[in-house]
């Protein structure tokens, strides 16, 4: 099964650039990347720019409306994701617990939708 690990974190809870904690976080991600690559389970993953770089769009009555940033005033934002190919939710949760963000943010683990119901 494929699982997406969505990394949510509040920007003010993240370690600051230049601090030892920041170094540790970067090393944590590097270790994670090495691990999922070595285990052969990595199917994809990217980090996202902050929500201040985002543009939101919707189509209303045939007209495009855009504005800066997301509407929702959530404290935790989506900062990145991984897609992993794993046997079950327990292994997905085990990998999620290895991510540095898990210590200050939230990792949402979601199975990718399987479009062939016979394979469930």
């Amino acid at each position: 099964m494929q699982y997406m690990l969505l990394l949510y974190g509040a920007p003010d809870a993240e370690p600051l650039y230049g601090t030892p904690e920041f170094q540790e976080m970067m090393k944590g991600f590097q270790d994670f990347n090495d691990r999922v690559t070595a285990d052969g389970v990595l199917r994809g993953g990217e980090a996202l720019e902050g929500t201040d770089k985002a543009v939101s769009l919707k189509l209303r009555a045939g007209k495009v409306e855009t504005m800066d940033g997301p509407y929702a005033e959530t404290r935790e934002h989506l900062g990145g994701y991984y897609v992993l190919d794993l046997p079950d939710i327990d292994s997905a949760l085990r990998y999620a617990a290895m991510l540095p963000v898990a210590t200050w943010g939230t990792i949402e683990v979601r199975p990718l939708m399987n479009y062939n119901p016979a394979n469930l």
Binding site: I89, D90, A92, P111, A118, N119, L120
Partner: protein, 411 residues
């Protein structure tokens, strides 16, 4: 043809009994072979229908359980063959055919630990865990479970189907967890079993299937399948000790009676002794955990000749380090007030007000502590607030009696 009708009835009865008593064992093996809860349940149901026909014709087989397993496997095989090609079909077919060829004995492996861990997986919501465990491991019918939780049978049926679908879509494994996830997953299992127990305990033993007995059965099962685990023993001990005073928890007038005021002659000494002995065994392993501490608190409430409050205070202090929740802090405060530390208890209660304002036991505790502090007006107000929040008639009666005992206003 005389005797045909009684025989048919005897067969039906025997089948019903096997399907209810051994359902957990049968389901556990079938899910392992089929890799799907839903498929296993459908196959077992079809095997039951087939059993009625065959057993009425040629009598009970030597091992009804082995017969049901074999036929359920074939029913599933039929079902899978009728489906289109799919990964699930290929996998399950391969597994089933392997079992068909090697499966010669009547010995049924006990796979129920896997079944329990899957049904109690934290990715399922609490109520679904409870329902799925009662259905698959205890063999309760959907109707019985619905009645125990005051739900409509269709609602409970939908909940069960959703839970089974979720196991498949979320990829919940049919496995006993690995050591690194064992503690967390065991906690989910024990919490689910304990929730079944407390639901039965507060609703009273009026149902045909008593939830307290089902919970104790489950805890005994887990303890026997994974011996030497102090938290499992602690959870079982907690339920046994609590169950021992079930006969005295409601007084002759229908009001709840707190343990300290119960008629001790009504306590089930045998169950209490078993619970205490089990708790001793658990504690001797020197790996403390919340269930062991709660069992010890329960045992101290039933100490002879009266509750051992100083010991209870210490136990709550220990529990606070494991479960720093508002409810544990509340119980800690109550225990403190019983040892005469009323100012400390009042201070804790004041700090908890914001969090527990809608929680009946908070106001009941506040009333008791106010009374100990000599504040009858405060006690009256708190009892009134507690009564307003109580849905349970027995608790309501107890609180009303307490309020009445305070006498008229202004004294």
């Amino acid at each position: 043809m005389a005797g045909a009708a009684p025989q048919a009835m005897a067969i039906t009865r025997a089948l019903t009994q096997v399907l209810s008593q051994d359902r957990g064992r049968l389901m556990a093996v079938l899910v392992a072979r089929l890799g799907s809860f839903q498929l296993a349940e459908d196959a077992l149901q079809e095997a039951g229908l087939s059993a009625l026909v065959h057993w009425s014709r040629s009598g009970l087989p030597a091992s009804p359980q082995a017969w049901l397993l074999k036929v359920a496997g074939r029913k599933a095989l039929d079902q899978l063959r009728s489906e289109g090609r799919s990964a699930r079909r290929e996998e399950a077919l391969a597994r089933l055919i392997a079992f068909e060829t090697e499966d010669s004995g009547e010995e049924i492996p006990d796979e129920r630990l896997r079944l329990i861990f899957t049904a109690c997986h934290p990715a399922l919501d609490e109520k679904s865990r409870v329902a799925l465990t009662l259905r698959t491991v205890c063999g309760m019918t959907t109707e019985e479970i619905a009645r125990a939780f005051l739900d409509a049978p269709t609602t409970m049926g939908q909940r069960l189907s959703r839970a089974k679908a979720r196991i498949a879509t979320t990829g919940i494994p049919y496995a006993v967890p690995e050591p690194d996830q064992w503690d967390e997953r065991l906690r989910a299992v024990l919490t689910t079993i304990y929730l079944i127990f407390t639901t039965g305990y507060t609703s009273g033993a009026t149902e045909p299937r008593d939830l307290c007995s089902e919970a104790i059965f489950l805890a005994r099962l887990v303890a026997s399948l994974r011996p030497g685990q102090p938290e499992i023993e602690g959870a079982l001990a907690l339920m046994l000790i609590t169950d021992a005073r079930r006969g005295s928890r409601i007084g002759p007038d229908g009001a709840t009676v707190p343990p300290a005021e119960q008629d001790r002659s009504l306590w089930d000494r045998e169950t209490l002794a078993e619970g205490r002995a089990l708790l001793e065994t658990a504690l001797s392993r020197r790996r403390a955990g919340p269930f062991q501490v709660k069992a010890a608190i329960s045992a101290c409430q039933m100490a002879d000749p009266a509750p051992d409050w100083p010991q209870i205070v210490q136990l709550y202090t220990a529990l606070l380090t494991m479960e720093p929740t508002a409810v544990v802090r509340l119980n800690h405060a109550v225990a403190l007030s019983e040892t005469g530390q009323i100012a400390a208890a009042t201070a804790i209660l004041a700090a908890l007000r914001g969090e527990l304002d809608g929680f009946q036991p908070f106001h009941a505790a506040e009333a008791a502590v106010a009374l100990l502090a000599g504040d009858r007006t405060g006690a009256r107000a708190a009892y009134a607030a507690a009564i307003a929040l109580t849905a349970n008639p027995a608790d309501r009666l107890l609180l009303s009696k307490r309020l009445e005992a305070l006498g008229p206003e202004g004294r």
